[in-house]
C-alpha cells in the first residue's frame, strides 16, 4: 500500500529508505575491505600504537582493499544514477547508461591503447582510463551531434537510434582490433571488457572524482524536471519545463558520469538498469527519491558484488562484471516478462 503524499508518514518513509540505503552503502565500504583471502583484524588495522610500515593488516586495508571498495561505490553510484537519468530522458525503462554508445566508445579507446601501446611517453598518467574517457567523450559528441542535426531541440528518437547504431559499429571495430592483436593483448582486452575494479591506489579515484562531482551537481538540479518529462515533452513544456535544456543537461551529465565510471572500472554491465528498477519498486516513481536512492543502492550493490567476485573462487578473482551480469541478466528477463 502506498503512503499518501505530503503526509508526515510519507516523508518519514522516504527519509527512512534514503537513510537506510546511505548507511548500507557506507557500511559496505567499511566492511568489504575486511573480507578477502587474507583475514585482517579490525583491532590491528586501527591500532594507532603500531607504525603503518609494520602494520600489515593496515596496509592491506588502506592500500589494497579500501581503494577498491571506494572505486566500487563510486562506479556503482554513478552507473545507477546515470541509468535513472537516461531512462527518464528516453522515456524508456529499458535504457541503460550504455545504451547511448558511451561504454563502447570507452572500450574502444581503452582497447586501442592496450593493443597499440602508448604512442608517446605519458606513462606517468593513467593511460588506459584516460583513453577510455576520451573514447567515451567522442561517442557522446557523435551521438549528441547527430541528435541535434536539422533540429533545434534534441530528438530522443535519433539519440536512441544513433546510440544503438554507434554501439554496434564500435563493437565491430573492437572485434576487428582484437582479431589483429596478439593473444596476450586480446586476453588483456577481454579482461578489460568484463569490467574490473582492481584499481591500484587512490589516484584513479582522485582523477574521476571531479567529473563525478560535476555530474552529481547537475543530477541534483534535474529530478523534478525528469518527473515532468515522463508525462511527455509537450506536457512538460506546458507545465513550465525548459525541455531542450533539461534534455541536454540530462544527456551530458549522465554521459559524464558513465564516462568517468567506465574509465575507472571498465564497462560493468547491469548495475545501471537493475538498481533503478529495484529502487522504483521500493519508493515509487518520484525522481527526487529515486535518483539519490539509486546512487546509494548502486554503490552498495557494486561493492557487495565485488566482494563476491574476490572471494567466490579465491585465490582466483572473477571480474565483477561477470557477477553483476549473472545477477542482472535474470532480473532483466524477469522484468521483461513482467511488463508483458
Amino acid at each position: 500500500m502506498k503512503v499518501q503524499l505530503g503526509t508526515p508518514s510519507e516523508y518519514r518513509k522516504r527519509s527512512r529508505i534514503l537513510f537506510m540505503l546511505a548507511s548500507t552503502a557506507l557500511a559496505s565500504c567499511i566492511v568489504a575491505p575486511f573480507i578477502g583471502p587474507t583475514p585482517i583484524q579490525w583491532d590491528t588495522v586501527f591500532d594507532s600504537t603500531r607504525p603503518f610500515n609494520e602494520n600489515i593488516d593496515a596496509q592491506i586495508f588502506f592500500i589494497a582493499r579500501l581503494p577498491r571498495a571506494l572505486a566500487g561505490a563510486l562506479v556503482g553510484g554513478a552507473l545507477a544514477s546515470a541509468g535513472v537519468v537516461l531512462q527518464a530522458l528516453l522515456r524508456n525503462p529499458l535504457a541503460t547508461p550504455f545504451t547511448l554508445g558511451v561504454s563502447s566508445g570507452a572500450s574502444l579507446g581503452a582497447l586501442l591503447v592496450i593493443v597499440l601501446g602508448t604512442p608517446i611517453a605519458i606513462s606517468a598518467l593513467p593511460v588506459v582510463p584516460l583513453a577510455s574517457f576520451i573514447g567515451a567523450l567522442s561517442a557522446v559528441c557523435i551521438v549528441y551531434g547527430l541528435s541535434r542535426y536539422r533540429r533545434r531541440g534534441l530528438s530522443t528518437t535519433v539519440l536512441l537510434l544513433a546510440g544503438v547504431t554507434l554501439n554496434s559499429l564500435f563493437s565491430a571495430i573492437i572485434m576487428f582490433v582484437q582479431f589483429l592483436a596478439d593473444p596476450t593483448q586480446t586476453f588483456q582486452a577481454v579482461r578489460y571488457l568484463m569490467g574490473n575494479l582492481n584499481v591500484s591506489g587512490y589516484s584513479p579515484i582522485l582523477w574521476s572524482l571531479p567529473l563525478l562531482i560535476v555530474a552529481s551537481c547537475v543530477f541534483a538540479w534535474l529530478p523534478r524536471s525528469l518527473n515532468l518529462l515522463s508525462i511527455g515533452t509537450e506536457s512538460a513544456a506546458s507545465r513550465g519545463v525548459d525541455v531542450t535544456r533539461t534534455q541536454r543537461m540530462a544527456f551530458l551529465s549522465a554521459s559524464l558520469a558513465t564516462g568517468a565510471a567506465v574509465s575507472l572500472g571498465g564497462p560493468i554491465g547491469f548495475v545501471g538498469i537493475v538498481v533503478p528498477h529495484m529502487v522504483r519498486l521500493m519508493v515509487g516513481a518520484d525522481h527526487r527519491v529515486v535518483l539519490p536512492a539509486s546512487a546509494f543502492m548502486g554503490a552498495a550493490f557494486l561493492v557487495i558484488c565485488d566482494v563476491a567476485a574476490r572471494t567466490l573462487m579465491a585465490p582466483q578473482e572473477l571480474p565483477v562484471g561477470v557477477i553483476t551480469a549473472m545477477l542482472g541478466g535474470p532480473f532483466f528477463l524477469w522484468m521483461l516478462i513482467r511488463k508483458v
Binding site: 503524499l5 522515456r91 538540479w221 515532468l228 507545465r239 513550465g240 525548459d242 522504483r280 516513481a285
Partner: protein, 276 residues
Amino acid sequence: MLRASNIFFGYDTISILRDVTLSASPGQRIGILGPNGAGKTTLLRVLAGLVTPNRGTVQLGTTDLRNLKRGSIAKQLAMVPQETSIEFDYSVLEVALMGRHPHLGALAIEGPDDINLAISALKLTRTNHLSNRSFSTLSGGEKQRVIIASALTQLVAQTVPTNKSSVLLLDEPTASLDLSSQVELLTLLRTLQVQSNHTLIISTHDLNFAIGICDYLVLLREGTVMASGSTHSMLTTANMRNLYNADIEIVRHQPTERLVALLADHRISRSNDQER
C-alpha cells in the same frame, strides 16, 4: 488576454497555418472547429508557445510569448493534450502535483499548500478518490480528468493578481471518451466556467460538444480561418457543410431551444460527387 496575430506556420515546404488571427478575452470559451488536418492542434501549440510561428506574433497580456520564459508562461497558461501516457508508475496525486512545477524553486519540495491545491483540483474533477492509484491504471476518461486537475493546479496562483485571467487549452478533449465521459467532461468544464474566470480554448471536431460549452467559434479549414463569431451566428447548416464538406444539418431542438448537429450521412454531398 491571449492574442494571436497573422500566424503563419509550416515545416519545410508544408504550410500548416496561413494568416490565422484569434483573440481570447478573459472568461471566453472559444471552440476551434475544423476537420482532421485543418491545423487545430498546431494552432493550439502555437498559442501555448510550444512552437514558434514562422510569421506573426502571439501575445499573452501585453507581452510577446517569445519574450517570456517557459516558467512564466506556465503560470498563466496550461494545456491539456489529447492523450497522456506516463512511462513510470506515478500516483494520481503526484501527477496533479506536477502542475505546481512553475510555482516552485529549483530545489523546492511541494508544501502542504501545494498539496491542498492539488487535492481541491482533484475534488473538482471528481478524481480525488483515485489519488493513491497509479495513473497508468486509469481509464481514458479518468486520465483526462486527472490531467485537467493537474492543469488547474498549475493555474492557481497566490502571487498573480486575480485580474490576470489564465488560459486553459484543451486539444480534442472528447476524442477518446465514451458518451458518459463526454457528458462528465461537459459538466466539469461548465463548473469551471462558473467557479473561475479561466479562458477556455478548445479544439474539437465534435459539433455538439462545442455547442455545449463554447460561446465563440473559430472555423478552421486548410490552415486558414474560414469564419469566426458567436456560436449561434457560426452554427449554420451552410457553414458546417462548407467546413466539413459533408452533409450536416443544424437544427433547433424545440423543447430546449438548443442547436443540435445532425449527421445525415445517407446522402453524399454535392462537392464529393463532383470530385468523383
